[in-house]
């Protein structure tokens, strides 16, 4: 979970390209964590110390931990806590990017710190994120949004993300983005009206949509492909349904209207939604958003 959130942030900040990120994410399971990166992420060593010990390690056949302790950069207790700590995927992601030459050690620390500050997460929230607490992740990330209709937009985002987590992918990433080009992507839109009018949509390439449809409906991939747009559109329908139930529980009644496909979202009069959320799924990025209008 956290590695995807962090990866999404790197993508948004332009630190990595989508293809480099996909490649790095795909290699997470193959990589052995390095003591230097773990010590860096935990704040036990500085980037310069890690670089120095790594360089020394290449000249002598000795372990990183031994050399770091010898230089007074690490204590035995710190080394033991690093070794016994759970594998942190975001550190592995950073490690891959450092090894690929995309990030420096300093860059990794800087971007991790920047992510913590810009995500709007409290220290407590940040720890909850690392612990894969879905509810805390969603609420922390979305609670920083601004603009008209924020409360409903946030709530819709919460439900949509929970739907993705529940039906599609346990490791989903989300971050705000104001503008995006949807040309070439297939999208779906559904309006919900009541005290407010809410227009929700999602867009992605066919592969991602088929994946969403397959996982959310329980149908096999071939059948989902045969059913085409309707299969993925039903997922949005489902997420919106859950959203209206949530609202109803809070005393806000909304009417759902039949879903419709939007062949060209940019020129269909739908306009830009208040919130546009990129969800990093196993097969690519799915864009989803909604617009709130008060009547």
């Amino acid at each position: 979970m956290f590695s995807r959130l962090f990866g999404q942030f790197l993508l948004q900040e332009g630190v990595v390209s989508a293809s480099a990120l996909s490649s790095a994410m795909g290699r997470l399971g193959e990589v052995r964590p390095l003591i230097g990166m773990l010590a860096l992420a935990q704040g036990f060593m500085t980037p310069a110390q890690v670089v120095e010990v790594s360089a020394a390690q290449k000249k002598v056949d000795r372990r990183f931990g031994e050399l770091a302790i010898e230089r007074g950069y690490l204590t035995v207790q710190q080394l033991e806590s690093i070794i016994s700590a759970q594998k942190s995927e975001h550190v592995l992601l950073g490690q891959i990017l450092v090894q690929d030459g995309i990030l420096s050690h300093e860059g990794f620390l800087r971007v991790l710190d920047s992510y913590r500050r810009q995500s709007g997460l409290t220290d407590e929230g940040f720890e909850a994120v690392k612990a894969n607490d879905v509810d805390a992740v969603v609420r922390s990330v979305l609670s920083g949004r601004r603009g008209p209709g924020r409360a409903l937009a946030v709530e819709w985002g919460v439900v949509f993300m929970k739907s993705l987590v529940r039906f599609v992918d346990p490791g989903v990433a989300i971050d705000p983005l104001a503008e995006a080009d949807y040309k070439g992507l297939r999208g779906f839109v559904q309006r919900i009206s009541g005290d407010q009018r809410l227009t929700a949509f999602m867009a992605a390439d066919d592969d991602v949509l088929t994946d969403v449809a397959t996982r959310s409906s329980g149908l096999d991939e071939e059948t989902a492909r045969e059913l085409g747009p309707d299969a993925a559109g039903e997922f949005l329908n489902l997420a919106n349904g859950l959203f209206t139930v949530n609202c109803s529980d809070e005393g806000i009644e909304l009417d759902m209207m039949p879903q419709e496909t939007a062949p060209s979202m940019g020129s269909s009069g739908i306009g830009e939604p208040d919130a546009l959320l990129p969800f990093l799924l196993p097969r690519g990025i799915l864009w989803a958003g909604c617009r709130i209008e008060r009547r």
Binding site: L238, G241, P258, Q259
Partner: protein, 126 residues
Amino acid sequence: MEKKFTALICDDSAVVRKVLCRHLSDGPFKEVHEATDGVQAVEMYRLHRPDIVFMDIVMPRKTGIEALCEIREHDPAARVVMASSTGTTRNLKAAIDAGAADFIQKPFERDAVLALVRRILEGEWE
């Protein structure tokens, strides 16, 4: 010999119809008909007189609640289960007032669907 029933699924989503059809194929059904909107739902009911109907609420041309009212007007004994992702208090109240036999929330789970079928057709499905 086990009695075989007829079902009617009314939903504008082909995915929902397919998933529900698969779940029902594990139940005591000889025929499962499908309608894609509220108007067709009423027509199909009159034509096939199914033992049980699964009715979506949000559908084109005529809502599930409206179709339910017309079906119940035509056949007061009709057993119609409202099936929707929008199980809001208002929807539920409207469905109960219109004589719905039960309500099932999407997404459907096979066991929940079959348990509901058993309950609705109680005494007939043994």
